[in-house]
């Protein structure tokens, strides 16, 4: 704010100076020049009258010759000063207007208002650096979830574009260089409500710089960066608790996963996809010869990942000067049928159009289909604007760089536990992942599935926290098995599944139903959107939760509650007793936890060894409860 005033006043210094001097001379002139009053007696204007006259003359208001008609000498002086003062005023006003139109001043004003708005944020928010294709998609997904977003981009056109877009929750944007610490700080890197930062610049060096600066400013900040080369990825990962998304690497590993374990691929695709869509059937990818056309960064990571899965691979590359090509590479343009035939298109089961030109990729895949109609076609889409073309081509799989990154990042933002969960699950054997997928489908059924996180603490789940202070609860009491139906009647159904639990440093995959819930636990939950809304309602409303746990609809008001307790015969003494009981229970939990610990450790190390009852179908809990 202060610098705004400084710019303003420094520029106004000379006009103000001119104004004061001209006023001073004009007033002095009127005081000195003799005049006559209405009786024709000699009269001299006082400073008061002179100042009054000059004031209304200079501002072109012009009340007339006050208090007495002027002599010709006075009129002569008035003639001179009226032009001088009006010019001085015009100079002042003109300068003021030009300052407000000045680019530096306007940028300063924008920065000030941006800083003020970010400073006033009192809810969790994310910073997105770079508003390209990926940034736009990510911002849209975040605002759709009503997460406040702060955007920085160096390109003014993109910021103008953003200001024209409609978002469901506010987006604060600043046109500035994010790699400068000053602007990052302004965007709220050190803000107590800042949940994390996502850097999505096209240039790896920019992402690296932003990551380093952000890390130095706030070492605890959660940072998700985009990197397109393995070197940059390793570099960013080398400091702080960061996540790096390499679009090529992500897609290549996903494709390899689709070949190895279709159900896991499905799980990944769904969990990191845009929410509000029904789980898709896994694609059927045959084992056999795969052709990769284009051996750039994308082709290389694909080759690496598919080679690990022991897939037969053949590479087509048009650049003859390229080094380190794998053995058996066919040199030539993949858009030509002859080259494709040379690469063995007739026997191949799949082809990947992976060059960095969209038109080439489409052409390759269309030619390939003519040669071999049954071939599985995977395309790399480089630019967002070509989405319609790729849609029209009806391909089996399309890798959109922007959405691969933005969807993955969005999933990581929404459910931070997801990253760890997926890392553990990716080591699953096929049978176990099938089991997991089927249990998720069992929970979700035909509904739209959703993922969410629950933290057991006073801020996020006050009702659960409050009850937990009084008595111990099992996972099956709240997190699965119970749900409030719409009409408010008491009903037990299982529409949710706790996927993952983080307690302190330990991780538990698919926490058992008979595990005690503890303060500070973080659960990754899965279920339908409706189930999620109902669960969040219960965890926030103590009356609702009590009702679900006990089936008794307690009054919420103090007087009525006391009456109710009295009617139930719960006296003061018995309340004390129940407190004692819960104390004893807590001891019990502690003891139990000690015995549990080794089991949990084992759980993390080798999730596939243990045969946990993952298929905790709704009926199971129901019967258990009835007993």
């Amino acid at each position: 704010m202060s610098s705004l005033f400084h710019i303003l006043f420094r520029r106004l210094r000379s006009p103000l100076f001119v104004l004061v001097v001209i006023y001073a001379i004009s007033i002095l002139g009127f005081v000195i020049i003799p005049g006559v009053d209405d009786q024709g007696q000699p009269w001299k204007m006082s400073f008061f009258h002179a100042f009054y006259f000059v004031s209304f003359m200079a501002t072109t208001i012009g009340f007339g010759e006050i208090p007495y008609a002027f002599t010709d000498t006075q009129r002569f002086w008035a003639l001179i000063t009226m032009y001088a003062t009006v010019v001085a005023w015009l100079y002042c006003i003109g300068m003021l207007l030009s300052i407000f139109q000045d680019a530096v001043f306007r940028q300063q004003m924008r920065i000030n208002s941006f800083r003020r708005r970010v400073g006033n944020i009192r809810e969790p928010f994310y910073i997105v650096c770079g508003y390209g294709d990926t940034g736009t998609q990510l911002t849209r997904s975040l605002t759709n979830e009503h997460i406040l977003t702060v955007v920085i981009d160096i390109d003014e056109n993109r910021i103008t574009e953003l200001e024209g877009d409609d978002f469901k929750s506010p987006v604060f944007a600043l046109c500035a260089d994010a790699s400068q610490s000053e602007f990052l700080e302004m965007a709220g890197v050190k803000h107590p409500w800042c949940q994390g930062m996502v850097t999505l610049a096209n240039d790896d060096t920019v992402n690296l710089t932003v990551a380093i600066v952000a890390q130095l400013l706030n070492p605890d900040l959660r940072l998700i960066a985009r990197a397109e080369t393995p070197e940059a990825e390793a570099n960013i990962l080398s400091f702080g608790a960061n996540e790096v998304i390499n679009p090529f690497e992500t897609f290549a590993s996903r494709l390899a996963l689709a070949i190895r374990s279709p159900s896991l691929y499905c799980l990944y695709d769904w969990m990191t996809g845009i929410s509000h869509q029904v789980m898709k059937e896994p694609p059927v990818l045959a084992q056999g010869l795969w052709i990769i056309s284009g051996f750039g960064r994308f082709g290389e990571s694909l080759y690496e990942h598919l080679d690990d899965e022991d897939v037969d691979l053949r590479v087509i590359e048009s650049d003859r000067t390229k080094r380190d090509l794998p053995a058996g590479t066919v040199m030539g343009r993949a858009t030509e049928a002859a080259t494709l035939r040379k690469a063995g298109i007739k026997e191949a089961v799949g082809i990947i159009g992976g060059t960095n030109i969209d038109a080439d990729n489409l052409s390759i895949l269309m030619t390939a289909q003519e040669e071999n109609p049954d071939i599985f076609r995977v395309a790399r889409q480089n630019e967002d604007k070509n989405a319609h073309l790729f849609e029209a081509a009806n391909l089996d799989m399309v890798m959109q760089r922007g959405s691969v990154i933005s969807n993955t990042i969005f999933a990581l933002i929404k459910t931070p536990l997801l990253g760890d969960f997926l890392r553990i699950v990716s080591r699953f054997k096929n049978e176990r992942s099938n089991e997991l997928v089927s249990s998720i489908i069992g929970v979700v059924e035909q509904d739209i599935p959703d993922l969410w996180e629950i933290t057991v603490c006073a801020e996020e789940t006050p009702a659960l926290y409050q009850i937990l202070k009084q008595r111990p609860l099992l996972v099956s009491d709240v997190l699965c098995g119970n749900e409030m139906t719409e009409d408010g009647s008491y009903k037990r159904t299982l529409k949710t599944l706790p996927l993952f639990l983080r307690r302190g440093e330990g991780n538990v995959l698919l926490p058992e139903e008979n595990r005690f819930i503890k303060e500070g636990d973080r659960y990754l939950m899965c279920g339908s959107i409706k189930a999620r809304d109902n669960m969040m309602l219960c965890l926030n409303n103590i009356n609702m939760l009590e009702y679900i746990l006990t089936g008794e609809d307690k009054p919420s008001g103090w007087v009525l509650r006391k009456l109710w307790e009295y009617r139930k015969g719960v006296g003061a003494t018995s309340v004390d007793d129940s407190f004692k009981d819960s104390d004893a229970d807590e001891e019990l939990i502690k003891a139990e936890d000690v015995t549990e610990k080794p089991e949990r450790a084992k759980d993390v190390k080798s999730p596939s060894d243990e045969d946990k009852p993952t298929s905790n179908a709704p009926s199971d809990t129901g019967t258990n409860k009835d007993e």
Binding site: F9, R13, L16, S46
Partner: protein
Amino acid sequence: MNSEKVIFAFFIVLALTLNFGFFLGGMDNASHHNIFELYAALVVSMIATILKVGDRTHLGAVFLATSLVADLQLIAAAIVWGYTEHVTEASLNGETLSIVVSLSGGALLANIISVVLLVSETITVRR
């Protein structure tokens, strides 16, 4: 030589001298206090303020503060003078004149502080 500093020094010293000239004399003796001198002191003091407006240095801000104080005191003095002469229709008696003079005395003190600051700043510049 910094011409901006010299110009400022000229105005701030002129403001002090004019103000001193006005202040000098009997507190309630109208013949000792000339209205033109008060007018000149006020205008020069305002110019000195404008010269320091928008200065980002600490000393510049202090200069701005002290000359603003002088301005306010002198404007108050001028208002008192103008009000008694024109609104109450009474000629300037010793009582009101002593108010005007004591207000200008306050402005004089502020001007003196400005000049002291100016002198100390000038001494620290060893060029």
